[in-house]
């Protein structure tokens, strides 16, 4: 039973580590990758707590909608927990 998640649709300025084309899209957690220091803090030379990082799998149909050439193909992206909402 894969856990479904949605990428947060927020659009803050600054150094963010979640590509815009995945914001608001739904996928499944493919695996947990462990905890890593938050790059969005490290980018500014600030203390950075360790955050869980997940590999999330999306279908091309979900990411590109009608434009998807191969709708059932999948795309994996590594996204931090603080960018994900559990569904």
């Amino acid at each position: 039973m894969s856990e479904r998640v949605r990428v947060k649709a927020m659009m803050p300025p600054g150094h963010v580590r979640t590509p815009a084309y995945l914001r608001g899209k739904e996928g499944v957690i493919e695996r947990a990758l462990g905890h890593f220091r938050n790059p969005e803090q490290l980018a500014y030379g600030l203390p950075a707590e360790e955050k869980p990082l997940y590999r999330v799998r999306f279908t091309m149909a979900e990411v590109w909608g009608e434009q998807a050439e191969c709708p059932t193909d999948t795309l994996d992206a590594e996204i931090y927990a603080h960018w994900l909402e559990r569904l």
């Binding site: 659009m11 600054g14 150094h15 815009a20 084309y21 995945l22 490290l42 980018a43 030379g45």
Partner: protein, 112 residues
């Protein structure tokens, strides 16, 4: 930053790529040194590759079009080293003057 979406210029996923230059090229000595400098800065804990990326993104699309890859890297490294207090603007300026006075060629500029 595009007005309607908030997406920043470097976040290119999903936009048409246009033609991709496949030319192979060698790297100049100074470019190899910039790459090595980044590795050293990370190893010494002065700043991380995340800081490099942040500075590159903040340089904007114009820099992306007008500067070469390692020109952008050295500018971003310098930005991070100034922010981390590794050296001051004054020290950087004095050092640049000193090297400029040695001569215009890469060889003349080297420490003896």
């Amino acid at each position: 930053m595009t007005e309607e979406t908030g997406k920043r210029w470097h976040d290119m996923g999903g936009t048409p790529a246009g033609p991709i230059c496949q030319d192979d090229h060698d790297f100049a000595l100074w470019e190899k040194r910039v790459d090595a400098l980044m590795v050293l800065c990370g190893g010494k804990g002065l700043f991380t590759v995340d800081g490099l990326r942040r500075a590159l993104e903040d340089m904007g699309e114009e820099a992306f079009e007008s500067m070469s890859y390692y020109e952008r890297w050295i500018a971003a490294i310098n930005q991070n080293l100034l922010e981390s207090g590794t050296y001051t603007i004054e020290e950087l300026g004095a050092r640049m003057d000193e090297i400029t006075r040695r001569g215009p060629t890469y060889g003349e500029a080297q420490d003896v």
